[in-house]
């Protein structure tokens, strides 16, 4: 279906809370009237009943994976399941559930796949500790190798002949550089 729909038709895609908020909050705001805003203009209504909870939901959703998408967070995605899950999270936050509980809820249904921050378990041990171990082992081996190399016998100071030759070469090089 090639879409040339007017925007109002497109908007009839099912939305969950925001319509509700619009139907209730907008008339209420209109009825109460704006306070210190120019005549006719109103302060925009934040989506969701409670902006703080909304922010909380989006923060949480940005660490969760959209299951119907190609690698997007639950916060960014417009897929139907993402919209539903965001709504679900909103309700759980409103009920006072903790982040841990909400994550557990989703993991129980979709597995660890839904978390973008991999949980620290036996099989993710290497994932979380690998990088610092890599860094430490790398630097430590560096230290040991360099120490061992430096312990080898010193070739001794250079002779006067070598010193003279070096001086000549350097003088010639400086001429080239000028």
């Amino acid at each position: 279906m090639r879409s040339r729909l007017p925007w109002s038709l497109l908007a009839q895609v099912k939305r969950v809370t925001t319509r509700w908020a619009a139907r209730v909050a907008l008339p209420v705001a209109l009825a109460l009237g704006a306070v210190s805003v120019p005549a006719g203009a109103k302060e925009a209504i934040e989506i969701g009943e409670n902006p703080v909870q909304e922010r909380h939901m989006m923060d949480l959703a940005s660490e969760l994976r959209c299951l119907q998408c190609q690698n997007q967070t639950l916060a960014e995605s417009n897929a139907p399941l993402a919209v539903d899950l965001r709504q679900q999270i909103r309700e759980m936050i409103a009920k006072g559930q903790s982040d841990e509980q909400i994550k557990q809820y989703l993991v129980a249904r979709y597995g660890d796949f839904v978390l973008y921050r991999p949980p620290l378990k036996a099989d993710t041990f290497l994932l979380w500790f690998g990088p610092p171990m890599l860094m430490v082992v790398g630097l430590a081996s560096l230290y040991l190798v360099l120490k061992r190399r430096n312990r080898r016998a010193d070739p001794g100071p250079i002779t006067t002949d070598q010193h003279e030759r070096a001086r000549q070469l350097l003088a010639g090089d400086e001429e080239n550089q000028a």
């Binding site: 279906m1 090639r2 879409s3 040339r4 729909l5 925007w7 109002s8 497109l10 908007a11 895609v13 939305r15 925001t18 619009a22 907008l26 805003v37 006719g40 203009a41 109103k42 302060e43 925009a44 209504i45 934040e46 989506i47 969701g48 902006p51 909304e54 989006m58 660490e63 994976r65 998408c69 190609q70 690698n71 967070t73 960014e76 597995g111 660890d112 796949f113 839904v114 978390l115 973008y116 921050r117 991999p118 949980p119 099989d123 993710t124 290497l126 994932l127 979380w128 690998g130 990088p131 610092p132 890599l134 860094m135 790398g138 630097l139 560096l142 360099l146 120490k147 190399r149 430096n150």
Partner: protein, 660 residues
């Protein structure tokens, strides 16, 4: 007809590349001048043939030839010309042709700018690049030709993905590929040196400018990709640690380590094995990235349609190239002598630490990207590794390197004293910490993250300035002549390091202080964010060549005074199902204002997302300053000096002929 010509041209190019990949290398081993001399003309022939083939594809797009499958799937009649050109690399097949095209551009460049190199060296380098070209040309001809015909021809094409109809699409892939593919030159130099046994400071000097150019392009390419995602995707993000992004970032990390390692090999003759290994790594990671994007092994918003058979081919190719080069390394490297000794505290050691840290960082990104695949392959569990992991791990891995960036340039070669360095830097250190502790308050709210990041950025900047001051002080003459006396390569380093400081500042401040509001606005409504107020003034509708749009109008004020108008759009492309969001961004030196439309609600209201992003443009400014550093380094006088004297010092096999 044109498509067939394009296809045929690739076949001829394959044949020539085969010759290029075999005869010169054998010739170099045997001292056969005739075979070695084949390298340059063969490389140029490949270039001409691939350019011709690309021209055929471009012609098919411009002529709306929908009998070519690739054109039919990536274009429409109404597509603006510049996007018909960009559609060349809009899909898998075309992007593979772009890969080969850019490889042939680099081959041509090497064939032209290598007069000063010994014949055997040039022969080997071009031959290695020829072999890589053989692999890709075979892949294109056997599995992914952009010239496949569609019979019967389509009436109209399926259009280029709307997200790609943007100037970003015209610039980002070519720049990125110039970088990515450009590391093949450093790789070829390394293989050439391993084969020829002449891994020394001179080799490093030849190799270095090629690496710097490729690195500069790659930095620019990644920067463009990030900036493009920022304004195109509608939620103001600029880096997602998506597998395809990681695929371009890992070569960058290895390439940065390579550049630093090459400096040591050139100046001190040390780190030879490291440098060769890093060159192999950088290009291997480029190839690995090419595999990951097209094989269907990982999910990504950027990935092309996948096909296991294509994946097998590329994996085999990877096995041959990477496996072969690492085997060559294992065989030859033990015989390469160590450079001169250097103290435990010295610039060499710091640069070696830099190598280790950057490699560890690249390894961590690789680990995070492949880990879900590994767990799944072992039948363990199915996990996701995303930004929460990478953000933490990467910052931890990079912090020591950023700290070292201040100290390293001040350390002397061979032997340095920590107390002396500390003496020089104590003011820089103190100033950085104090300023960093206080500065966040100027942003309105103290933040530990901001203090930490600012401290690192200020440290790098201050230490770099100390370095410059110390260097200038030791020269004779008045200030202007002193400054002019310093080599451009040195300025390049300063510039690139400052670029990193700017980048870190941008990232830190935007992450600590950005705010957003998700609101529903009717005509006349206002929303305040930061010191700005936005008023929604309604929608105008209209249409362009291949889409209809709804454009929102927002008046921005700050403290009552007008500060601009913003017009985000919602575009519905005629050939697509999903509408596309085009955010509007009001850019400033110290902040970006970002507005994007959501959906329409009722008759006149719309959901809108408004962002206040302080210092976000410093992220890309920092990258551009790094690129500038690369350009400065390339403009250094020594690369422009005549090579006539050098080239005569070598005979046909590349052995130095000492003056009588």
């Amino acid at each position: 007809m044109i498509a067939e010509l394009g296809h045929f041209s690739l076949m001829v190019a394959l044949a020539v590349a085969l010759v290029l990949g075999t005869l010169p290398i054998v010739g170099a081993a045997r001292g056969n001048v005739a075979w070695m001399d084949l390298a340059r003309p063969a490389a140029r022939a490949v270039f001409v043939l691939v350019v011709f083939s690309s021209a055929c594809l471009v012609a098919s797009f411009v002529r709306d030839d929908f009998s070519v499958v690739y054109v039919a799937t990536n274009s429409t009649r109404a597509l603006p010309l510049r996007y018909k050109l960009a559609a060349f690399w809009g899909g898998h097949e075309g992007s593979m042709l772009l890969w080969v095209l850019i490889l042939s551009v680099w081959m041509f460049a090497v064939s032209v700018f290598s007069r000063h190199l010994p014949k055997a060296m040039v022969a080997r380098i071009l031959a290695v690049m020829g072999l890589v070209a053989v692999g890709f040309l075979l892949f294109i001809l056997l599995t992914s030709s952009p010239f496949e015909r569609l019979i019967p021809a389509a009436e109209e094409g399926r259009d280029l993905n709307p997200l790609l109809q943007d100037p970003g699409m015209v610039a980002h892939p070519p720049m990125l590929y110039m970088g990515y593919v450009g590391f093949s030159v450093a790789f070829a130099f390394a293989i050439g040196a391993l084969l020829g046994g002449n891994l020394d400071a001179t080799w490093a000097r030849w190799s270095r400018p090629w690496t710097t150019v490729a690195w500069s392009f790659l930095t620019l390419g990644i920067c463009l990709g990030s900036a493009w995602a920022y304004y195109t995707l509608g939620w103001g993000g600029w880096w997602f640690w998506d597998p395809v992004e990681n695929a371009s970032f890992m070569p960058w990390l290895a390439g940065t380590a390579l550049m630093h390692s090459l400096a040591v090999t050139e100046k001190r003759g040390g780190f030879k094995n490291w440098t060769v290994l890093l060159a192999i790594f950088a290009f291997s990671l480029s190839l690995l990235g090419t595999f990951l994007v097209r094989s269907g092994v990982l999910t990504s918003v950027h990935s092309f349609a996948s096909d296991p058979r294509r994946g097998v081919f590329i994996l085999l190719f990877l096995g041959v190239v990477i496996g072969g080069s690492l085997s060559l390394f294992a065989w030859r490297a033990p015989k390469v002598g160590l450079g001169e000794r250097f103290g435990l505290v010295s610039r060499e050691t710091m640069l070696l630490m830099n190598n280790v840290l950057f490699l560890a960082a690249a390894g961590s990104v690789l680990l995070g990207t492949l880990f879900p695949l590994c767990l799944d392959a072992l039948g363990l569990s199915k996990i996701s590794v995303g930004p929460p992991y990478f953000d933490v791990v990467f910052v931890v891995m990079m912090t020591p390197a950023l700290f070292l960036m201040g100290i390293g340039p001040l350390a002397r070669w061979k032997q340095a004293e920590l107390p002396q360095i500390a003496q020089r830097l104590k003011w820089a250190f103190g100033v950085s910490i104090l300023t960093a502790l206080v500065l966040p308050l100027a942003m309105g709210r103290w933040s530990g993250l901001a203090a930490f990041g600012l401290c690192l950025a200020l440290w790098i900047f201050a230490a770099t300035m100390v370095n410059l001051w110390a260097r200038v002080r030791s020269l004779p003459g008045d200030l202007p002549s002193r400054l002019r006396g310093l080599p451009l390569g040195y300025y390049g380093m300063l510039c690139a390091h400052v670029g990193v400081a700017v980048f870190v500042t941008g990232v830190t401040l935007v992450k600590s202080y950005q705010t957003e509001k998700d609101v529903q606005m009717d005509v006349g409504d206002t929303v305040a964010i930061g010191p700005y107020t936005f008023q929604f003034n309604g929608i105008t509708e209209g249409n362009k060549e291949n889409y209809v749009f709804a454009k929102g109008n927002f008046a921005v004020t700050r403290d009552g005074k007008p500060a601009g108008t913003m017009e985000p759009e919602k575009r519905q492309f005629l050939a697509q199902q999903e509408p596309m969001t085009k955010a509007d961004i009001n850019r400033g030196l110290t902040r970006d204002l970002y507005v994007s439309l959501g959906e329409s609600v009722g008759k006149t209201a719309w959901t809108v997302r408004v962002y206040y992003k302080p210092f976000v443009d410093w992220i890309w400014a920092g990258c551009l300053v790094m690129v500038l550093g690369g350009i400065l380094a390339l403009s250094d006088r020594r690369y422009r000096r005549s090579r006539a004297s050098e080239s005569s010092a070598y005979d046909a096999t590349g052995t130095v002929v000492l003056p009588a």
